[in-house]
């Protein structure tokens, strides 16, 4: 949900509640005031009746019209107090109940007690209240409506810098060479936000760059000593005085150095891809390249007697030949390494995807296998082969996925980014 939408929702709920409560309060207050006014009128009437009685020692004539009623009832019991109340009385002419405000008070004429009642209809007052409340509510609604639109406009304007920042952040990428640039803002909060975000992004970028530079330098620096070790060993093994035990040990050193070297090269390659040092601007005939690679690996497949099934359709992709070769090398190397003797290898290429499947016993951990340095048990590799594959595919925007199907490990590289399935 968008911030503005949420704000509008809350705003609507709040204003409606305020409107309802205030309308109710307003009604009560106005009603009280008008009733008080009415009561004052009635009290004046009472005083007039009392004055008349005092002067004439007789009852005034009863009144019965629309605006006022006055009548007297003989009183049995002695009543001394005056009461004011609202009563509803059936009106025969209007055929409905009408609410009156009445004042009742005792009068004594020639020793006889009478209860005098003065009534004035309350309906007029009620009507008045209704009009007043209605007008007020209309005013309030118009006001709130205006406020709503004004708010909307101002909020959009106010939050604009925030959305700008958000857009910039979305565009920001560690892999790209661009730095995050956010405009300064007069609003303190946004200025602070932009400052914090920029300093954080730059910090992250610095850390990332220094890590990358470190990896690159470390790998580079290690190349020379490794090269020295190798060359010295190439010379050393020529020594005729070496016996079998020496040579066996030297062989182990060779293997270890080979592994180390491969590790360095893999790390360097990963850094290079991340650095964007490769261009994706070559037209590569993928089917042709696969055929070449399969031929290159031919002896290896043969040595393990791996059954090969290759189905290729012509596929031309715009990418980088060197990276594609590395991709295929890694996929095929894995296939050779992990397929048992007499196993099966299937390479299927169509217009949309490349599938490379090899026989296996148990499924691999599909969440982890593409991570750097992740190794399944008994894996002789270093756990960088698939990480490199993933990195290359990410660079090419080719989603890559793994699944275990019918006792086959299947790696699928899709050429349509939109077809991505996170398996």
């Amino acid at each position: 949900m968008k911030l503005l939408t949420k704000y509008r929702q809350l705003n609507l709920i709040a204003t409606c509640s305020i409107l309802l409560v205030s309308a109710f309060c307003y009604y009560i207050v106005v009603w009280q005031i008008l009733i008080a006014q009415l009561d004052e009128d009635l009290t004046t009437e009472r005083q007039e009746v009392m004055d008349f009685v005092k002067i004439n020692d007789n009852l005034p004539l009863p009144i019965n019209n629309k605006t006022q009623q006055l009548f007297f009832v003989p009183l049995q019991k002695n009543k001394t107090s005056t009461t004011i109340s609202s009563v509803s009385i059936y009106d025969a002419t209007e055929k409905e109940k009408v609410i009156f405000r009445q004042i009742e008070f005792p009068v004594i004429i020639q020793g006889k007690s009478f209860l005098a009642t003065v009534r004035e209809p309350q309906a007029e007052t009620e009507d008045l209240i209704q009009y007043i409340v209605l007008v007020t509510i209309i005013m309030l609604v118009i006001l709130l409506g205006l406020l709503f639109f004004i708010n909307r406009y101002f909020l959009k304007k106010l939050w604009n810098p925030f959305y700008k920042t958000l857009d910039e952040l979305k565009k920001f990428s560690l892999y790209k060479k661009t730095t995050l640039h956010l405009e300064s803002n007069k609003i303190t909060e946004f200025a602070q936000l932009n400052e914090s975000v920029m300093s954080m992004a730059n910090q992250v970028k610095r850390e990332y760059t220094s890590l990358k530079v470190f990896t690159e330098n470390a790998s580079h620096e290690m190349q020379t000593p490794l090269a020295i070790i190798r060359l010295k060993m190439d010379n050393l093994i020529q020594d005729e005085n070496l016996n079998a035990a020496h040579l066996n040990q030297l062989n182990d050193i060779y293997n270890a150095v080979g592994k180390l070297q491969h590790l360095m090269q893999s790390l360097l390659l990963l850094t290079k891809i991340e650095n964007g040092q490769f261009m994706a601007n070559e037209n590569v005939l993928l089917d042709k390249l696969i055929t070449e690679k399969v031929n290159q690996f031919h002896e290896l497949f043969q040595s393990k007697n791996i059954g090969l099934k290759v189905q290729l359709t012509n596929k031309n992709i715009l990418f980088n030949k060197q990276l594609l070769e590395i991709l295929l090398n890694n996929l095929l190397s894995n296939a050779v390494r992990y397929t048992r003797e007499n196993g099966q290898l299937e390479i299927i290429l169509n217009d949309f995807e490349l599938n490379i499947c090899n026989s296996g016993e148990i499924a691999l951990n599909k969440l982890e296998i593409f991570n750097r340095f992740y190794k399944e048990h008994n894996s002789p590799g270093m756990g960088l082969g698939l990480a490199i594959i993933k990195q290359i595919c990410a660079f090419a925007h080719f989603p890559v996925s793994y699944r275990f199907h019918k006792k086959m490990h299947c790696f699928r590289i899709s050429f349509l980014a939109s077809n991505f399935e996170q398996n």
């Binding site: 580079h220 190349q223 020379t224 490794l226 090269a227 020295i228 070790i229 190798r230 060359l231 010295k232 060993m233 190439d234 010379n235 093994i237 020529q238 079998a244 040579l247 066996n248 030297l250 062989n251 060779y254 293997n255 080979g258 592994k259 070297q261 491969h262 090269q265 360097l268 040092q277 290159q296 690996f297 002896e299 290896l300 043969q302 040595s303 060197q322 070769e325 590395i326 090398n329 890694n330 190397s333 050779v336 390494r337 002789p380 590799g381 082969g385």
Partner: protein, 225 residues
């Protein structure tokens, strides 16, 4: 034959020189660009091994000097950077081949031999070892003057052996030479054995002695001792 090794890393330069001296090359070493420049101005070399990353500049400068002076020394670039750009630039500037560090000395030797053969000895493409005669131009092999048929890999293997004759060649070096170093076989070189076995069989069938000696799991040696 004279070789100039331009390499700032003393250990590397000396290792290369030591190995190549045994192969009857006369080796000189230049540690800096300036030294290299001075040497190439005065002397002529059959082959120059050129490191790109030198303390006082880019080794590719040497190629420019050579070109400007119209010298025809063979140049083999040795670089720590496996960068395609460097390779292309180097070859465009007139280098003959490109080798990425770290490499095997047997590989270096094979590359040098190939360059010199190609550039300096037009016409003479024969490598002879007792009854074995290998013609690098037509890529044919004769045993006692009789041609034998080898697969491409077997031919490359034999050529590699002949150039590094008497030397112990590690299995790793053979695998790298025949299949390139991008194949990550994590030290499983069993498949090499099949090729050695086939080559041996074909040579023996044609009446050649068995010169391929296995060296304690380390590698192989092509020798008549």
């Amino acid at each position: 034959m004279k070789i100039l090794i331009i390499e700032d890393e003393q250990q590397l330069a000396e290792s290369m020189a030591a190995y190549l001296t045994v192969e009857n090359y006369i080796c000189e070493i230049a540690f800096t660009l300036k030294e290299a420049h001075d040497k190439t101005e005065i002397f002529e070399y059959d082959c120059i091994l050129l490191d790109i990353g030198l303390p006082d500049g880019n080794g590719l400068e040497i190629l420019k000097y050579l070109k400007a002076d119209k010298k025809e020394d063979c140049v083999l670039i040795i670089s720590a950077k496996n960068s395609l750009d460097d390779r292309v630039t180097g070859l465009q500037l007139g280098a003959d081949d490109y080798l990425v560090k770290p490499f095997h000395l047997t590989e270096l030797s094979a590359r040098i031999a190939a360059i010199i053969r190609r550039k300096k000895y037009h016409g003479n493409n024969l490598i002879v070892f007792f009854e074995i005669k290998l013609d690098t131009l037509s890529q044919t092999v004769f045993i006692h003057q009789k041609e034998i048929t080898l697969t491409k890999k077997e031919y490359q293997l034999l050529l590699y052996f002949l150039i590094n004759k008497g030397r112990i060649i590690s299995k790793d070096a053979i695998a790298n030479h025949l299949w390139g170093d991008e194949m990550d076989m994590t030290n499983n070189f069993d498949f090499i054995y099949t090729h050695i076995k086939n080559l041996r069989k074909k040579l023996a069938e044609a009446g050649s002695n068995d010169y391929i000696k296995s060296v304690y799991g380390m590698g192989y040696q092509f020798t008549n001792s």
